[in-house]
Symmetry: C2
Subunit: 380 residues, 2 copies
């Protein structure tokens, strides 16, 4: 008997309240009953996205919502600046290319955040850049990019399109206040749901742009979605049970209080970083860490993929792996969504045990103690 | 947001497989469909109880099954020896008195197991004793009584009636092999179910005695139950969804293998005892500890009831309290049922943090490390 602990940055654990809501009797989506639930969900999402504008609910993964941001805001051949510092930066690049944009790639060393000066330089070199495409939290490298500061640069210039997949609900990313033009997330992260919903909100100037944008879009036509969703239903069949669940998860987040939700993610991330450091391990992103997940270099001689297989198959602990150039070298421990103090402690205790098993020098309890020191904050 | 960890010796956590089984569509209990499920469950229970005889499934708590053992096996005025070393020993005494038996009380200091010599002395002083009533695991004091050794004394003498509520499924208590005459348990312990089922099995000589026993019984008439259950249904309406769940939990236990289930409980208990000792805490039952739960004395100046309230309300951790003379002085950490290595580690990490908060001298990670040392066995 091996109990399962899902400590990856998506999918994330699902609270009972949400599971039970998703098990409610199916209803038809073209009814006043659904419209009422949907309208409640849409209000909750506005608070979460920090916007007075619509947050549109799509039956798609987060990548679908990323694609919608591109296909609704641009015309063929337009130039965009893509901040590429990891696998999800690469995804913006791919989408831009597929849709016939001219992406200018701003490469960022994996594990580092993009520098403001680099963005400024790019904008100067290419004054015809129409938008910056970036991640708030680059999940693959556990880096937090300075989106707030970048937004200050784009207020009267290009649009700022933010992949907030492991950021929205993890930390504050208020669309209106910061001046973000498109903000995207998915259901299976901080929203504590299974995969299947993509969420997107646009600024007023982005909506204006969407009217002129000439890229083809049908399923992801946000103009059509906005009209339909304001009338109480999605343009196409919505993922009804996930929306039941979303109502429950938004309620849980409101009960906890968004500021406390953010503080919790931050605390779990700090506890995990303190633990890794106390264990003598190096962090992948020591300077600009994301509160969504913590990347940790494994000691020399330990293949992280083998360690992760062992953790999952023998200990029931699912962390995430390193990708591409990081493959076999790092692990990522997530703090996203329905995670509490004891998830962080389980993660560290398990890592200590697995590393010991793999022959690394480990003193049991050392990482756990450092995490406990941080987590005592919750008991104040 | 405080995640809940149910680490009490009943109710215990319920696996998803069991929850889902209990959510299956209700069926009628006087049908071949139910009879098929019930017969499968009854076979599984025989293996668990280590008997070729019937294990009867009652819609009751474990106490109902204890009462059934008394009311089916005795006549008014008969003398029984009650081993009373805790709250559940007291319960045998109460039931015996209510039904008009003459219980001889063998008092045992709380935290100690009964001594074989004391039993032998009692049997000599009262040669007309008809049965010994005892707990295998006395949950209130976290003691394991030497039931196997006592059974050797009773083979040709009095019946041995064993409350196995936190013993069956936790450790081996084979009815046939050891020569136990009545063995009782409840659903909300090692069987990983909600409360609501009482289970009981009798030896052949106990069945013979049940025919002559004159105590009144109707709902708990085991002769009637045996007849009905052999025909595929209970005498009265059975708790159908709990029986669905029982089928699932027996399947999980079979998949893990009973010997491994017992080894797991033993390991978690040893890890917890090692942790408490490493933390400088004293065990309530250092000599004959039950693998079901570990009683730990709290340091001077720490009121355990207040500590338990804090653990439950501020940290989401439910342990059990000390009762009567132990009130305010001890805590009990359970290892019963759906519990794995990380439940034990969460328990210890939480205890370290709560004790620190209560001003006790604690070095973070010390108890955790001692538990990790033991739990590394699982990774061999």
């Amino acid at each position: 008997m091996i109990k399962q602990y899902l400590l990856s940055p998506g999918p994330t654990p699902i609270p009972n309240e949400v599971q039970l809501a998703m098990a409610e009797t199916m209803i038809h989506h073209r009814t006043p009953q659904f419209a009422k639930i949907f309208s409640e969900v849409r209000e909750g999402l506005k608070e979460l996205f920090g916007t007075k504008n619509d947050v549109l609910v799509l039956a798609s993964s987060g990548t679908g919502a990323m694609e919608a941001a591109v296909s609704n805001l641009f015309s063929p051949g337009e130039k965009v600046l893509v901040v590429n510092g990891g696998k999800f930066g690469e995804r913006w690049l791919e989408i831009s290319k597929v849709f016939g944009l001219k992406p200018i790639e701003l490469e960022v060393e994996w594990g580092k955040a993009v520098k403001l000066e680099a963005i400024e330089r790019s904008l100067k070199s290419h004054p015809d850049i129409q938008a910056i495409l970036i991640q708030a939290s680059e999940t693959s490298t556990t880096v937090w990019h300075p989106v707030r500061e970048i937004a200050r640069l784009t207020q009267s210039g290009p649009l700022l399109i933010v992949d907030g997949v492991t950021a929205v609900g993890v930390a504050r990313v208020p669309l209106d206040e910061w001046g973000i033009d498109a903000l995207v997330t998915g259901s299976q992260k901080a929203l504590m749901l299974p995969p299947g919903l993509g969420l997107i909100s646009l600024s007023n100037r982005a909506w204006a742009r969407s009217e002129k944008a000439k890229l083809p879009r049908h399923y992801f036509d946000l103009r059509l979605e906005r009209k339909s969703q304001q009338r109480g239903a999605a343009a196409f069949t919505p993922a009804v049970s996930l929306i039941f669940g979303l109502r429950a998860s938004l309620k849980l987040m409101r009960q906890e209080g968004l500021e406390r939700v953010y503080a919790r993610h931050d605390r779990l991330a700090r506890a995990t970083r303190a633990a890794a450091t106390a264990m003598g391990l190096k962090l992948l992103a020591p300077e600009n860490p994301s509160p969504a997940a913590t990347g940790i270099w494994m000691p020399a001689g330990v293949n992280s993929d083998k360690l992760l297989d062992f953790l999952r198959d023998r200990m029931g602990i699912t962390f995430a792996e390193g990708q591409d150039q990081l493959r076999g070298k790092i692990i990522r421990i997530a703090h996203v969504g329905y995670m509490g103090a004891f998830d962080a402690l389980v993660a560290i205790a398990a890592l200590e045990m697995a590393l010991k098993k793999f022959g690394a020098p480990v003193e049991f309890g050392q990482g756990v103690a450092a995490a406990q020191d941080v987590l005592m904050e919750t008991l104040e």
